[in-house]
Amino acid sequence: MSPVDAVALLLAIPVAFTLGVLYWFMVRKLTARFQWRRGPLLLVYRDLSGTLGSSRLLQPLYDILKLWKKEVVVPPSARRTLFKASPYIAAIFAGTAILFLPAPYGCLLSGFSYSLVVASYLLVGAMLFIVLGAASSSSPWGVIGARREAELFLAYEMAFIVSIFTAAYMYRSLSIWEISINQLKSLPGFLANPFAAILLFLAALGKLHLKPFDIPEAEQEIIAGPYTEYSGKLLALLYITKLLILYSLATLIIYLFTPLALYCSTPLGATLHIILSLAVIALLSLLHAANPRYRIDQALSWYAKTAAAFGLAAVLMAASLKLMGVL
C-alpha cells in the first residue's frame, strides 16, 4: 500500500462523516420544506445570527456534539456490557463499511474483488448491534423497538440482497468499483435494469427508518424504540452510525447503477458523486414527507408483495438482457 492510499483510507471516514452531516441536513431541510416549515436555516436571519451563527448547515453535527457532552445513564436492569458496547461496535461496523465503498476522491478498497459482499455484511452488522443494544436495555419500549427492527430487517434485507446481486450478476463482478466501470462497456445500470435500482431505493427507506417504514422508531407508539434508553455519548454514537449508513446507502445506489467510477479522482467526479447522492436523498425525503407510517404487519406484507414483484422483475430483466447479449 502506497502512502497515498494510506492517507486516502485515513481520510475516508472524516469525509464520509462530513458528507453524512450534509446529507442529513438535506433530509431535515427538504422534509421541513415539504411540510410547510422552515427547518434548520441555511442562512440565519440577521437578528438571530448573534446567537445562532450565520448558518445551521452543520445542525446534525451540533446535535451530536451536544449529546457527546451529556451524561450517559445506564438503566440499572440493563445488561451493562452489551448495552454500552453495542453503539461502539455498530459505529465501527458502519465506519469500516465506508472503507469498502468508493469515496468522492478515489476508489479506496472498493476495487477489492469482494467489496460489495463485505460492505453489505458490515452494514448488516451495524444494524444487528443496534438491535442487540436495544434488546439488552430492559426497557419495554426498547425491546418492542428491537423486535420491530428485527422483523423489518428480514423484510428489507431481502430486497437489498436481491437488488445488489442482480447488479453483480449483470456486470459479472462482486467488486463495487468494477460494477461501476463495467457499465461503460454496455448500458448504465439504471437504464438497463430500473427495477433493481428502485428495489435498492426501497430497501434504503427501510434501512434508514424513513416513512413509511419508521416503525421501529415510532415515537407516538414506543417513544424512541431502540434508542429509548440511550443517552449522551452512546446516543451520539448511534446518530453517527445513522449518518454513516445514510452516506453508505446513497453511495451504493449511485455506484451500482451509474458508471460514475469513470470520472473518479477528478473534480467532476467528486461533484457528480455529491450531486447524485443529494438527488437520491431528495427523493428519500419526498417519500418521507408524503407518507404516514405503516403498521409493522402492513410493512412486512408490503415488502413481501411489492418488493418481491420488483425483485422478480429485476432478476428476469437481468437474465433476458444477458440472453439477448446486451450485457
Binding site: 411540510q35 410547510w36 419495554p140 416503525i215 407516538q220 404516514p292 403498521r295
Partner: protein, 560 residues
C-alpha cells in the same frame, strides 16, 4: 295517549313532586327507595339516555342527587331531571350501573367528591384521586379494599403497584405523560405479543375544581371562568354556560345574538377539528398532514382574533347576550378569508382521506358497534361515526341559531364504525361548519345585542342546557340559591363519557393501533379533569408589555 303522557303518568306513581322547568323540561322528585325503579322505567321502557348523575351538598339538609335524562326520542328537546334527597348521616344511593353503564363514571365521581356510598357499584376505583389514596375524604366510611388496590371486578386486573416482573404478560404503561397523549392520562395495556388483551384507563392527574370557582363567581360572572374550562373548546363551554343560565332565568336572547353565537361556536368547532386532524396525522406518523392542518387552524384562529380580540378564550359570552358587535366590513373580510380557507381545505381533505397509507392505517380498526356505542353512551363524532343520530344541535340546540333553513346546518352520520369513519365525520363537519359560518354572516350585522335580565330570580330555580361541543354533548346543570348566587354548577363533558368506550374498543387491537384509536376518540382531558396546564419549560418570562407588543405585532401581520 302519546308515549310522553304515558311516561308522565307512570312517573306520577313514584314522584313526590313533578315540577315543570322554564324551558319545557321536567323535574321529578322521587324517594331513594323508588330510584332504581324509575331509572329502569326510563332507560329500559322509554329508551331515555342517562346523560349525567350529579350530587350537591346542602349541609345539614343532606345531599341532592340529580339524574339528568335525555328523552328526546319521546319529544324533541325533552330533558327530565330525577332528583332525590338523602340524609347526611345515612348517605348512600343504589347504583344504576347494573341497569345501564351510562352512569358508571358519574357514580364514581359522587363517591369521591361527596363521600356518598354507591351500593352495588361494580368498579369503585377512584377516578380523580390516585388509586393509592388511603381513605375516603371526610366521612371516614369504611375502606373498600378494592378501591385501594385498584382491581377491577372480574378482570383479574393487576393493580397499578404491580412491577413488570410480576406480570404474566407484558405490561405497557402508556402515560400519564406519553408522546401520543396531548395531556396527562394513563392507559394501561395488557399485551400478548403486539395484541392488546385488556386495557384500563386512569385520568385525574390535574383536577383543579373549576366548578367551585364558577359557583363562587355567581351567575353572571361565572361565564368568564366557564370559558376557561378548556383551551380547545372554550367557545362550546361559554355557549353551554349562557344557555343554562338563560334557561334557568327564562330569557330568550334576540336573533342577532343567536347568530353571532353560532358563528363563534362553529369557528371554534372548525379549529378544534383541525387541531384534532393534526394530532391524528401525527399519531399515524404523518407529520406533513399535521403541519398542514395546523396551518389551516392558525388561519381560523386569526379570524377569531380579528373578531373578538382573542384567539382562545373569546370573553364575549354574556348571559342574555353577547359582547361582540360585528361590522359589515369585518363580516365581509371574514367571508373572504373563510371562502379561501374552504377551497384550500377541501382539496387537502380530499387528498388526505384518499391517501392509500392513511386508509391502510385507519380503516377497519377501532370498531365500535352501534349497540355498544349506545350502551356506553358515547357522544359526538365518535357516536355519529357509529351510525347514531346523536347531535345536540338536532335534539336540543343551545341558545344559538341552528335552523337548517337559514344556517344550512345538517347532521353528519357515517356507518363505518371505525377510525376512518371518525375521520370522515370530522372532516365533513368542518365543511358543514364552514358553510354555516358563511351563511350566518348575513345575520350578524344588525339587531339587538342584549336581552333584559329579570329583576328578581326565584330561589331554587334550576336549569340544564346542552351544547354540541366539538367532542360531543356538553351538559351544564345549575341551581340558584338566591339572587345571583349559585347553589351548584355541574359540568359533564363529552370526553368524560367517551373515555368509557376506550376499554371496549382497545380490546383485541394491535399495539401500533392503540395511539390511533385513543386519538380517534379525541378526548379532551382539560375538559374532563378541568385542569390547569403549567408550562414547566418556558424559555423566558414575558412581562405584560412584551405580551401587549406581541399581540400588536400579530394584529399588524393580520392586517397586511
Amino acid at each position: 295517549m302519546s308515549s310522553l303522557d304515558l311516561l308522565i303518568k307512570e312517573l306520577q306513581a313514584y314522584a313526590k313532586e313533578l315540577k315543570p322547568l322554564k324551558d319545557g323540561k321536567l323535574s321529578a322528585r322521587v324517594s331513594r327507595r323508588d330510584l332504581l325503579e324509575v331509572v329502569k322505567l326510563l332507560v329500559r321502557r322509554f329508551q331515555a339516555r342517562l346523560a349525567f348523575i350529579t350530587g350537591a351538598d346542602f349541609g345539614s339538609e343532606g345531599f341532592d342527587i340529580v339524574y339528568v335524562f335525555d328523552a328526546s326520542s319521546l319529544k324533541p328537546r325533552f330533558k327530565l331531571l330525577v332528583e332525590t334527597r338523602i340524609p347526611r348521616d345515612d348517605a348512600w344511593i343504589p347504583s344504576t350501573t347494573p341497569i345501564t353503564l351510562q352512569g358508571l363514571w358519574a357514580e364514581k365521581e359522587i363517591m369521591e367528591f361527596l363521600g356518598i356510598e354507591v351500593r352495588g357499584h361494580p368498579d369503585p376505583r377512584y377516578v380523580w384521586l390516585p388509586y393509592e389514596w388511603p381513605n375516603m375524604p371526610e366521612t371516614g366510611a369504611p375502606l373498600d379494599p378494592r378501591r385501594v388496590h385498584g382491581v377491577a371486578a372480574g378482570e383479574g386486573w393487576l393493580p397499578l403497584r404491580a412491577r413488570p416482573g410480576s406480570a404474566l404478560a407484558s405490561l405497557i404503561p402508556i402515560g400519564p405523560y406519553h408522546p401520543s397523549h396531548v395531556e396527562g392520562q394513563y392507559v394501561r395495556l395488557k399485551l400478548d405479543g403486539e395484541v392488546v388483551e385488556a386495557a384500563d384507563i386512569k385520568v385525574g392527574f390535574h383536577h383543579r375544581g373549576i366548578s367551585r370557582l364558577i359557583e363562587r363567581r355567581g351567575l353572571r360572572r361565572g361565564v368568564l371562568v366557564a370559558e376557561k374550562v378548556c383551551g380547545i373548546c372554550s367557545g362550546a363551554h361559554g355557549l353551554a354556560y349562557v344557555s343554562a343560565a338563560e334557561r334557568t332565568l327564562g330569557i330568550d336572547p334576540p336573533e342577532r345574538v343567536l347568530y353571532t353565537r353560532t358563528l363563534l361556536a362553529e369557528l371554534n368547532r372548525i379549529q378544534s377539528h383541525l387541531l384534532w386532524l393534526g394530532l391524528f396525522s401525527d399519531v399515524i406518523g404523518f407529520k406533513t398532514g399535521f403541519m398542514y392542518s395546523w396551518s389551516f387552524r392558525e388561519r381560523v384562529l386569526d379570524i377569531l382574533e380579528r373578531l373578538t380580540g382573542n384567539r382562545i378564550a373569546y370573553g364575549v359570552w354574556r348571559v342574555g347576550g353577547v359582547s361582540l358587535e360585528i361590522e359589515k366590513e369585518e363580516a365581509s373580510h371574514v367571508e373572504r378569508s373563510l371562502k379561501k380557507l374552504k377551497e384550500e381545505f377541501l382539496s387537502f381533505a380530499e387528498d388526505f382521506v384518499e391517501h392509500p397509507l392513511v386508509k391502510a392505517r385507519v380503516k377497519g380498526i377501532g370498531v365500535l358497534k352501534p349497540e355498544e356505542a349506545r350502551e356506553l353512551n358515547v357522544l359526538g363524532p365518535t357516536a355519529r361515526a357509529s351510525t347514531l343520530q346523536l347531535d345536540v344541535r338536532l335534539q336540543d340546540p343551545p341558545n344559538a341559531a341552528y335552523d337548517p333553513t337559514t344556517t344550512g346546518w345538517r347532521i353528519v352520520v357515517k356507518d363505518g364504525c371505525d377510525c376512518y369513519s371518525r375521520l370522515l365525520v370530522r372532516l365533513e363537519e368542518v365543511q358543514v361548519s364552514l358553510d354555516v359560518c358563511l351563511n350566518v354572516l348575513d345575520y350578524v350585522c344588525s339587531g339587538e345585542l342584549r336581552a333584559e335580565l329579570p329583576d328578581s330570580i326565584e330561589p331554587g330555580a334550576e336549569g340544564v342546557a346542552c351544547n354540541e361541543a366539538p367532542r360531543g354533548e356538553l351538559v351544564y346543570y345549575m341551581r340558584i340559591q338566591e339572587a345571583e348566587e349559585l347553589a351548584c354548577l355541574r359540568i359533564r363533558t363529552p370526553s368524560y363519557q367517551n373515555f368509557l368506550s376506550l376499554a371496549v374498543i382497545l380490546k383485541g387491537c394491535m399495539l401500533a393501533d392503540v395511539p390511533v384509536i385513543i386519538a380517534s376518540i379525541d378526548q379532551c382531558i382539560a375538559c374532563t379533569d378541568r385542569v390547569e396546564i403549567m408550562d414547566g419549560h418556558r424559555r423566558r418570562l414575558l412581562t405584560w408589555t412584551d405580551l401587549v407588543q406581541l399581540s400588536q405585532r400579530a394584529s399588524k401581520r393580520e392586517e397586511n
